[in-house]
Symmetry: C2
Subunit: 342 residues, 2 copies
Amino acid sequence: MEKLDNDLFLRTLQGQKTERKPVWLMRQAGRILPEYRAIRENLKDFIELVKTPERAAEVTIQPVDILKVDAAIIFSDILVIPEAMGLPYEMQEKKGPNFPKTIQTEKDIQNLRIAQADDLDYVLKAIEVTKKELKNRVPLIGFAGAPWTIFAYMIEGSGSKTFSKAKAFLYQNPALSEKLLEKITQSTINYLKGQIKAGANTVQIFDSWAGILSPTQYHHFSLKYIRYICEAITEVPVIVFAKGAFFARQELGNLPCTAIGLDWTMDIKESRNLIGKEKILQGNLDPCALYASDEVLVAETKKMLDDFGDKHIVNLGHGVYPDIQPEKVKLFIETVKNYRQK
Amino acid sequence: MEKLDNDLFLRTLQGQKTERKPVWLMRQAGRILPEYRAIRENLKDFIELVKTPERAAEVTIQPVDILKVDAAIIFSDILVIPEAMGLPYEMQEKKGPNFPKTIQTEKDIQNLRIAQADDLDYVLKAIEVTKKELKNRVPLIGFAGAPWTIFAYMIEGSGSKTFSKAKAFLYQNPALSEKLLEKITQSTINYLKGQIKAGANTVQIFDSWAGILSPTQYHHFSLKYIRYICEAITEVPVIVFAKGAFFARQELGNLPCTAIGLDWTMDIKESRNLIGKEKILQGNLDPCALYASDEVLVAETKKMLDDFGDKHIVNLGHGVYPDIQPEKVKLFIETVKNYRQK
């Protein structure tokens, strides 16, 4: 087993008492750093960056060097899975992802293949390069989208406020929906196992569109498949972040995973009560608090740190927004590092 | 006092036991009806329709004639308030509202006037025409946006997934934010009182962007101003619909209003427990259930009716989506009308 210079993040996931709380940010790789944009500008588009392991590794490590986070997360995209299954997408500047072809029929689902780890060798290679270049400084997080969130894009074809086409598909074709969700789930398990073999020390499952399902649909069409993934991934700790799934906190607490991410609308103490004492919690500062004055940002951060108590990995309640000043992120991270639990 | 042919909606709001539950749909006027689109096509744009009382009255009454709902809601827009305060907007086809100028500074806020009911005479006139042409068949609902939601558009300038500019303003300028929220609140009270004088039998406050605030910010920057409105409007029952504000249900239950709307992510029994026994609850079928087969739609509707029990006004958990078939809406309404509480 590798020895890491800073294993605070992994020790916290193991349930150990630590000298301070570990901190990282969702979307820390990319977006806010000028150093990221310098690399990005020399490439055709976002997808080319995702598919160029040396560059992906470079932007993965930038926040470790510049922001001093306690964990790196591989620079990639949740939508590499549909592509590996046979449904390619393009990333439109300022508009987000777009699938020229979407899933509409049983035949479309039959035509999809179950992705193997090898189909995503560019991500695995990026993880290998990152691990080598990180030189054991901090752990590396791998990730994938939750099956429901991937399903939502494959049916809808793009981002949406309501994902009403994807939700309509669930209502109209529950049996077909399950078939597609199973294929995505199996692909995701293969992919995450590949990431772990390549060196990921932890994996996080992002259910970005959890919050638009009714509690009943969430139970049947999302949580069930997240559970399959958690059951299959026994090699490393699994973190589940289901944005907006306030109504499922109790059920999330029963998943065979190590940690649960909270978004900023979820009251911390209520969430701890619902999720139970065992799980590590991750989150959940309002990403907009990073627009505040230094004084307010420090106060909001400390309040959050107090409210969580122990078994806590510090993060925002959502990915960091593109126009946040890196100096504010640094202040947030320093505040966490200087904090001692009362 | 006028005598209505069908006063089921008002008797339910008065807490009376009724022979069946009343039903209406948010966004029932417009969007889904071909009869609406026929009228809309002959006008320049959405805003012209809002500003033409005879036409606005006509589309307000259409769902009473065609869908047989138990209440009409005046066809208008929440953004008439910024316009009446001196901040005009345009409605871009498929893109939504856009404000050419937004609020950024203290001076911008000072330059805004407090709207008087007269500034919105075209809405009041539409209410008067509607009341006359409704011929006492069903009650008429007036409405306004909650101050936070109006504030969000005035700062952000358009719709947004995160409303990060508006939220940044709250963090950076809390005192200025309060000044703007107070001006919006006073304008909204004047406006709602005008609507009631013109004939609205009930008013609903829509806090469409409640769910993107942290619980603390929601308490300070939204709920407080909704409370002022509820305290000021004593003439008719007030319904508060705060979409996504699951974290504030207990506090919403303490507002001096008559009814609380629930969105489809909120568990019905849990919401009743949090809100308390006194309030009438409104909602909350997943709008996407109207894409389902007749059989599934009827089953989902009946399940919701069972779960609410009494003190319930039936509605969706959000505005009806534009591509829903009117036949599905009719089936939903018939299912409610044929239902008898166990």
